[in-house]
């Protein structure tokens, strides 16, 4: 397995704004890598540098062994770009615009296969101006695939979709992954990264605040589990067999534990002996969303504190 993308110490400034402040990562061939972060975190800057649209301010970047800044035709022949916003030729049909693109690439995909993959069979003879927003996005995906690329950039592929359209797109993107393509995905949807990516990097304020598999991100697999329930009448926190804390907002008590199985056994054993019912009993781990919000939130807070310091 080779390395598809290698980024080291990447920085990007626009005038006075530092959008990317020293980011390093690499993507293996065949991997689906998600860049996750809120709007303005620097995702698009990073991706557009890798795609060759922007020049970096510092650092080294290699995409399929080449420097994207040089804009070589050889590199462009091997990547597929799905942009956030793009319309193409309003007066050509789906089939025509894809067929046109096959002449641009040395080893293009089959037009029918690509139309089938994105599910636009019924629209193949429709002019692009007649497509709905969702169909347009599927066409964007098709245009990214028509060159039979080794590496695909998906920039927020489902932004603005309704839930069922998002699910449908995920199936399509999963299919891509099964073809062995390397995918770099940007998104601000947690569940999207969780469904699609092998590896996720959370970016906030121009730096990576966490990187890992969706399961382990931010130490999620080691994080304390929460056991929650409502305190039965006449029982105080001190009566419980395991240490607990009150959650006043929810009106419940919470047990934070690294060993939820043992803690739960002691708790329930204790309750059953006393014929007590623990209303609303649940065990949860922090969701990826919780981790993400915490990471992105911390970074935003630090940034605003720094800004305050700078102004005072």
């Amino acid at each position: 397995m080779g390395v598809a993308v290698a980024v080291d110490g990447l920085q990007k400034s626009y005038d006075t704004v530092e959008a990317v402040k020293g980011v390093s990562f690499s993507i293996e061939e065949g991997e689906v890598f998600a860049l996750l972060g809120p709007n303005g975190a620097g995702k698009t800057s990073i991706v557009e540098i890798l795609e060759g649209y922007r020049k970096r301010s510092a650092g080294t970047v290699e995409v399929l062994g080449m420097d994207p800044e040089k804009g070589s035709r050889r590199l462009k022949e091997r990547i597929g770009i799905v942009l956030q916003e793009s319309t193409t030729e309003p007066y050509l049909t789906v089939e025509e615009v894809l067929r046109q693109r096959t002449f641009w690439y040395p080893r293009p995909s089959n037009v029918d296969d690509v139309i089938g993959l994105v599910g636009l069979e019924e629209k193949r003879r429709a002019r692009l101006r007649t497509l709905s927003g969702g169909q347009q996005r599927r066409l964007d995906l098709a245009l990214g695939l028509i060159g039979n690329p080794d590496l695909i950039f998906l920039d927020e592929p489902t932004t603005g979709f309704d839930p069922s359209a998002r699910r449908a797109s995920w199936v399509i993107i999963r299919n891509l992954c099964s073809l062995g393509k390397t995918v770099l995905l940007t998104t601000h949807y947690m569940d999207e990264a969780q469904h699609l990516a092998n590896r996720v990097a959370v970016i906030a304020g121009g730096v990576f605040v966490a990187e890992g598999t969706p399961d382990s991100l931010g130490g999620r697999n080691q994080a304390a589990a929460n056991i929650r329930f409502s305190l039965p009448e006449g029982i105080t926190l001190q009566d419980l067999p395991v240490p607990a804390r009150p959650d006043k907002v929810a009106g419940e008590v919470v047990i934070d534990t690294q060993e939820p199985t043992a803690a739960l056994a002691r708790l329930t054993g204790w309750a059953v002996e006393r014929h007590l019912e623990l209303a609303g009993l649940t065990v949860t781990r922090p969701s990826l969303e919780d981790v993400y919000l915490e990471l992105a939130g911390d970074a935003a807070e630090r940034a605003s504190q720094n800004a305050m310091k700078a102004t005072t």
Binding site: Y53, L83, T88
Partner: protein, 255 residues
């Protein structure tokens, strides 16, 4: 290189398909000059122009419409189409694809040239058949003049996109630059030679394209090739090309 030329040919083909299906483009730049020609020729068909040695009105008017048609499909059409494609993100997408930029733009320019040739043939054929217009001058000189004019106005069309901020402003800005010049340059009726308007118009290439084209139709002309007119167009074209190559944008302005 042969592959690239073949690719260029294909791009022109796709742009042709797109053009004829687009009622705004085909309507404005192709049908409009023909319509203007029919209306003007019908209302002024029997008139004579004393100032140009008593030639018939159509003998002057047909070459002026030929120049007008070519300017419309090169300057106006190219400027508006390219601005629209830039603002819609099409140019950005092309930039990320392996198709070389010159082939993409070449496809758009080639489309303008094809439409321009067709329009020229129709207008001249109409003039010759319906109004007895003749071409006493040298046809080769006429073709050279038209080619230089087309090249000049293609370059100006690309250059003007660099000052158009967004798609909404494109038709307004382009026509605001173009139409006043058309009028003072004698496109729709001859302008007397010594007037202030003529002096102003003389600075810009529109008037030179019209008088240059008229040379081959002018029975009193000494030469069918007016070097001064060609020189002005080449100069404007060169400056436009310089501006376009320095300042051309591939990305939408809203970002």
């Amino acid at each position: 290189m042969t592959n690239d030329l073949e690719l260029l040919g294909r791009q022109v083909g796709w742009e042709q398909r797109s053009y004829w299906r687009n009622p705004a483009a085909a309507g404005f730049s192709f049908v409009f000059p023909i319509l203007i020609m029919v209306i003007f020729a019908t209302t002024n068909g029997n008139g004579k122009i004393a100032e140009l040695g008593n030639i018939s009105y159509t003998q002057y008017y047909i070459p002026a419409i030929v120049a007008f048609g070519i300017m419309g499909v090169t300057f106006t059409n190219l400027a508006i189409t390219v601005t629209f494609k830039r603002e819609a993100g099409t140019l950005k997408r092309v930039r990320g694809a392996p198709l070389p930029a010159w082939i993409y733009l070449g496809g758009l320019i080639g489309n303008s040239v094809v439409v321009g040739i067709l329009l020229t043939a129709i207008v001249i054929a109409f003039g010759v058949i319906a109004y007895g217009v003749s071409i006493p001058g040298n046809i080769a000189a006429l073709i050279v003049t038209l080619a230089i004019g087309a090249a000049c106005f293609c370059a100006m069309g690309l250059a003007v996109t660099t000052v158009v901020p967004n798609a909404d402003a494109a038709p307004a800005i382009v026509n605001l630059l173009f139409f006043p010049l058309l009028f003072i340059s004698g496109t729709f009726f001859p302008i007397s030679k010594g007037s202030v308007l003529t002096k102003i118009a003389g600075v810009f290439p529109v008037r030179h394209f019209i008088t240059g084209t008229f040379a081959a139709f002018d029975p009193h002309a000494r030469s069918s090739m007016r070097g001064g007119d060609l020189l002005v167009m080449v100069a404007w074209g060169a400056v436009a090309l310089l501006v376009a190559s320095r300042r051309f944008r591939w990305e939408p302005s809203t970002k």
